[in-house]
């Protein structure tokens, strides 16, 4: 190994400083690069040093560091209020919304015949039927009604109330999940 301190020729210490910078991906002036390459071509010690340093730094990518477990990842999302809504709950919400829409449509179209049957029964249904009568002129579609469908539709009215309650409960659960990061941000 040589140790030339001349300004025109790079010595080992300077050479190694530039080699480190090269490993860092820093831009090295062309003139320095030429001097460095010249030095490396003639200095076996620095060549070995550079190879070993490169190998040492490459080994840092080989070390094994612990990864977070799936259980922790799930817990983290839950604690942050970021757990995704389960698929079954999304499906249930969709089905409930569809049933509600179907019931409302039926009541609206067939409301005039149902009014009498439901007036003294369920106030909410009765009110909906009045809306239906207002929207659709009396008599339209009523000839298709049978007593069985009337009963069925009234039962559906009760189901709608449960559906609405279910949707509201779901929204409350979601809100409770989501407020946590929002609260955290505003704190």
């Amino acid at each position: 190994m040589r140790d030339n301190t001349s300004a025109l020729v790079m010595d080992c210490a300077e050479s190694r400083k530039w080699i480190e910078l090269r490993f860092d991906g820093e831009e090295i002036p062309d003139a320095i690069t030429r001097k460095l390459d010249k030095h490396l071509a003639s200095c076996e010690g620095c060549r070995l040093w550079a190879t070993q340093m490169e190998s040492a730094l490459a080994k840092l990518q080989m070390i094994t560091e612990p990864l977070p477990t799936q259980q922790f990842k799930t817990r983290l999302m839950r604690e942050l209020g970021l757990s995704p809504v389960p698929v079954w709950l999304r499906w249930a919400g969709g089905v409930l919304a569809g049933l509600s829409a179907a019931w409302l449509l039926a009541v609206t179209l067939l409301g005039d015949r149902l009014l009498g049957a439901a007036r003294e029964g369920i106030p909410v249904v009765s009110r909906l039927l009045r809306i239906g009568q207002y929207l659709i002129p009396a008599g339209s579609g009523s000839s298709l009604l049978t007593s069985a469908t009337e009963i069925g539709i009234i039962i559906l009215g009760g189901a709608v109330m449960l559906i609405v309650l279910g949707i509201l409960a779901r929204r409350m659960v979601n809100r409770a999940q989501r407020t946590r990061p929002a609260e955290a941000r505003s704190a």
Binding site: L60, Q61, M62, E65, P68, M77, P181
Partner: protein
């Protein structure tokens, strides 16, 4: 370098959406950094339970402070800084027996790489060598060469001056090379 800039662009876009209450963006931010932050915290804690608790704290703090993040700097470095501060708080308040972040002296009872060489595999040996480095040197070495943070990001995440970072990194590389040579891993 371009990759790093691209990553930060994506991070900033996610931050913008997360601030607008976009929950998928919030989830994506957590997914993207839960691994690196956990690994970083674990380097100090050496304990999975504590590392998990602290990682959770880091993300809670991240959401709490997200509106203060300046888009001009690296989001990753900003997040690492939160993690580092949480680690320091934890060590100083709750775990005086944990690794002292300011302690740069290698403990005497730590077996040398040569001592453990015969009874461990190369992989374990490598981990032992890394662990045997003084914490502050190990920190910058891993931030630079494992997590691939730039000098600017390391300065930002640690709050240490650039000159000090460069000096520590130079020393850390020399120590790493020496230890690996002694352990016959080079």
């Amino acid at each position: 370098m371009e990759d790093r800039l691209q990553v930060n662009k994506e991070d900033i876009a996610l931050v913008e959406r997360a601030l607008a209450e976009d929950y998928s963006a919030q989830r994506e931010l957590v997914k993207r950094y839960q691994g690196p932050i956990f690994a970083y915290v674990y380097r100090w804690m050496r304990n999975r339970a504590d590392a998990e608790d602290l990682t959770q704290d880091v993300f809670i703090k991240m959401f709490r402070a997200l509106h203060t993040y300046s888009r001009k700097s690296s989001f990753r470095a900003w997040l690492y800084r939160i993690a580092r501060n949480r680690v320091i708080d934890f060590i100083r308040r709750k775990k005086p027996h944990a690794v002292d972040i300011d302690d740069v002296v290698v403990e005497d009872d730590t077996p040398t790489p040569i001592e453990v060489h015969e009874r461990t595999s190369e992989q374990e040996m490598l981990n032992k060598v890394i662990e045997s480095l003084p914490p502050l040197y190990r920190e910058v070495l891993l931030l630079r060469h494992r997590d691939e943070l730039s000098y600017e990001e390391i300065v930002e995440s640690t709050g240490i001056a650039l000159g000090t970072i460069k000096a520590r990194l130079h020393r850390a590389r020399a120590m790493l090379k020496k230890q690996l040579t002694e352990a016959q891993l080079l």
